[in-house]
Amino acid sequence: MGIFSATHRALAKEALDCVFRRVTFRPCNTGFKEKIKNRIIGRLLNRSIFLARITNKHFEVFSWVFFILMIGSTFWVVKGGYNYYIYGSCNGLNQSGFCAFDPKGENNKVTDINQQCGVEEKTEKNVTLENIDLSTFPTKNIGSKNTVVLIGCYECDYTRKAYSDIQKLVREKKTNYIFAHYPAKENTNFLSEIGYCVYKDYGDRFWAFNDYLFTVDKVEIYQSEYINTILRNFDFDVKKVNDCAQNPEIKKLVNDQITQLRKTHLYGTPTVFINGKGLVGPKPYRVYKSMLNKFILF
């Protein structure tokens, strides 16, 4: 309690002094043990003489049990804090169990790939990039020693939340960057082909278009008429892009892309791979950044 409460800090200090003396085989010299013991027993006496008697008799044993529990819980608190800082979850990378620092699990929420946009939490899957062919997806900064892969959905809130952080990471760290659209919602299925065709025909101009799709109001990307306006605004040849998108070969290629993405075992968007390590859900920027750090403890 003393760690979190200013009013109990003096008590915590006294307790720690007492504990330190006891573990170094010296008596507690502050009277703390007697004070606490008798106040606890006093309180118990108001409820149950039996409990008070047992506590009075075995207080030393109970104290050691609580001490061991305290050491254990301290270890888990420190580990939880470390995990939260590094992975955005107290329980480790992509672990969606309860975390006091992120009680609503915001850092692990994903848009389920088989359902409507939602907040359902999934258990961890072994998401991986092994044996996945990403060669047909939009790529930039080729040749960098670090690689960031974002699998996301234009229409999904959690991808949108993570998107700006991923762009910032790519911009600041100059990482190799691959973007893969996974339409978790059916409204924007057609954008996979559109995106592919823009990248194929216009190269790096695709990225500004991509940024726009992630930042514009979602209703503007639900219908192809709106997309045509956007394409026009970006000075792309609307007819050419649409013809390309309707091409059966392109459709097959995009389908192959989706098949490749499914092989990653992803279960929601966004899923980000940083140097092969998968992060599911929108993590804080520091987490993405720390993934580039080679000195992570565990």
């Binding site: 007697e34 008798n38 006496l45 003489i49 009075n56």
Partner: protein, 399 residues
Amino acid sequence: MEKIQHDFPILSKEIKGKKIVYFDNACMSLKPRQVIEAMDEYYYEYPACAGRSHHKLGEIVTQKVKEARISIARFINANENEIIFTRNTTEGINLLANSFDFKAGDIVLATDKEHNSNLVPWQALVKKKGIKHQIIKSKEDGTFDLDSYNENINGVKLVAMVLTSNLDGTTIPAKEIIRTAHEHGALVFLDAAQGVAHQKVDVKDLDVDFLAFSGHKMLGPTGTGVFYAKHDLLETLEPFMVGGNTVEYSTYTDYKMLKAPEKFEAGLQDYAGIIGLVEAAKYIEIIGYDKIKEQELKLNSYITDVLRKWPKIKIIGPVDPALRSGVISFYIDGVDMHKFALMLDEMANVMIRSGQHCVHSWFNDKKIFNSARVSLYFYNTLDEADIFLKNLELILKIL
């Protein structure tokens, strides 16, 4: 009783939903609102210096302090020029110990139940000036051993004794002790810290030479006390603390002291406290010592009767509660009595003292670890005594 309790604001407050049961009056008495308001009045209406400043506020404070000295003098039947305001009894005793012209070999005689405040200053003089400090042991029942005293009074310079013990509440036969001392050429100092709050102290009737008491044990503010000395003796004492307001004038090389009592009151005084102390004395006079004694005895008898039914419990001092003022000090062999104080506080806001009550010497001599002390005052009630006893019984069940 309800009206009296209403005068003490703290008694109407609750801690964790329970009223407090305050049985630690030998350490500190509670304060009635009259005392608190009098002190507030000083700070709100005339927060200035006394005896120095001649502006309107200064004049008011000077007059209030003058009146306070007269009131306190009347309270113990002294003359106003025999009253010195101090911070507490301890300061009064130190004033005497350091101002009196002791020589090596002078004997100071004390009881075996002196508070450290009336023990250590004399022990310090043993080391500093080579005086002798001698102890009169109490009788088996804890009362004063007059025979032993009479046998040891010869050659004594000063009898310095506690009037009423904070350990067990016993009161020494002061008048007889003083008469015998004077017959043998000895002077007498009484530590009346536990005295004036519970019994009428008439310095003229007692013929005591020196006396000290504290304000905080008699409903007054903390940091207030009084040292009394017969005026002719006061003039023979050399102030051990000098400075502002103790001199008529000073030059770069010399000074001329004021007369007593001013020469003993160095520096700015606690005027608010002094004014509050007067209100405390007035409150006690209004209640009356007869009523105070009656209530204390009623409660002490009630609690003592129950405690005596529990064979484990040993009461320090005489069995008869009438001889123990409002104090019931008790212990159980082999048990740390801090337990009781802590548990009672936690269980029912019953506030008692535990430990050696600054009478370490007695506990060390008797080889008793410590005791729990209930000390009562006139605002305590039988209902409170019942709460104390009920919870004490619960504690005894788990030991």
